[in-house]
Amino acid sequence: MVDAESFVEEAVAEIREEVGDAHAVIGLSGGVDSSVAAELAYRALGENLTAVYVDTGLMRKGETEEVRETFSHMSSLRIVEAEDRFFDALEGVVDPEEKREIIGREFIREFEREAKEADADYLVQGTIYPDRIESEGGIKSHHNVGGLPDVVDFEGIVEPVRDLYKDEVREVARELGLESVVAERMPFPGPGLAVRVVGEVTKEKVAVARDACHVVEEELEEYDPWQALAAVVGKGTGVKGDNRVHGWIVAVRSVESRDGMTARAQELDWETLQRIQSRITGANENVARVVYDVTHKPPATIEYE
């Protein structure tokens, strides 16, 4: 386990040395990795760091408001409303890798504009070790690994948490006083809710995934999962109020893990599962059924795409 106190000291010094008096930009997702990278960079660079948060429309419930609050001390925080541009770009796309590529590309586009406007020479990224491993191994691409540096002509890229595992990043987050981020946020994928809807990304499916994820996170808090989520996986038949419904199938997943490299599906009690089912089908008229995923990692990954 990394020693958080000395890590912070070294990381801040390293960023300061690398960037010097130049200007840097970071993409803030609201997750723990980019939050830690942003806070480290802010301590190193102060006003010379521009933090950009892109609201892709693929964020969790309440996420944008929380980011605004957590990072209110950063005077150069910019919040970009890009929902419509992301949904337009994703229209008709079903292949998971293509979805990730498009989201990465759209991010780049949003960023390029903001980075140019901020006149940034350096890019700071919250890439952590498993991101690199999975990208290198060809299992999944992570949007914060590929793409961006090829398009924007940065002088350098700084990845202050590149050698850390998630549990270590959390330690560092606590050291940085980001308790709220650690406490409230489970790991959330870079491409957001787009990978929690199997197939085409539509506003309707994303809205279902967003609400269902919120229900799952709330109901499973006492199980202290590493990650708990819901995904829209397809359509099935149901019957609601004497009417046939051809509605969404929502898969619920809750796993425990140390570092995300392996995971165990959690054993949940029946009442909890039933409450989740009832809340999701009750509040979303277009959901026909809810299922629970019992697969460990391996053979499954934690997320659906």
Partner: protein, 182 residues
């Protein structure tokens, strides 16, 4: 005390480095095409990986006369390069597996007896151990879960002692490190 991890492009290679680091020994992860003469180690870990065709110079590392721990594909490499046999399993070994220890006196896995819960991820498996090796562990989904040649200090486990879900994985590394010290 220094243990080198040979990276066979496995998902968990970095965790092997971490387990060694957590055990308090110097460790380094190197590519599997590193020339053997450049490797300075008191022990070697052959990592897992996706493909027997991408094992680089692993065969040569078995000749370095230091203790070797082969994990998953690393164990299969050992069987394949010596005179054992590797083939595809009838039943893929994934995630939670209960392993029965067959040899309580084995320096690597004997301390885990009578059984231990492990995390696995493999389709192929060792079908016959090489000459000089003892078959030290088994499970319902894979006949040969571990093998040892204590005279040559060559050890293999089919599961992943480096991942958090393997219950006593760190103990396997500590047992291996004890062999590297002796």
């Amino acid at each position: 005390m220094r243990v080198v991890v040979i990276d066979n492009h496995g998902q968990f290679t970095h965790l092997e480095g971490r387990a060694l680091r957590d055990a308090g020994v110097d460790q380094e992860i190197v590519d599997n095409d590193t020339p053997p003469e450049e490797i300075d180690a008191d022990g070697l870990v052959l990592s897992g990986g996706p493909d027997m065709d991408r094992i680089g110079r692993c065969a040569e590392y078995l000749e370095l006369d230091v203790p070797v721990l082969g994990i998953c594909l690393g164990m299969q490499v050992m069987a394949d390069q010596l005179d054992g046999r590797v083939g595809s399993g009838e039943y893929g070994g994934y995630a939670d597996v209960t392993v029965e220890i067959l040899d309580e006196a084995d320096p690597l896995v004997g301390s885990l007896a009578p059984e231990t819960r492990v995390w696995a991820s493999h389709a192929d498996e060792v079908k016959e151990v090489p000459d000089g090796f003892t078959h030290t562990a088994t499970s319902d989904v894979c006949g040969i879960e571990a093998m040892s040649d204590a005279d040559r200090d060559l050890y293999g486990v089919q599961w992943h002692p480096e991942v958090a879900h393997t219950e006593r994985g760190q103990e396997v590394f500590e047992n291996f490190i004890a062999r590297c010290r002796s």
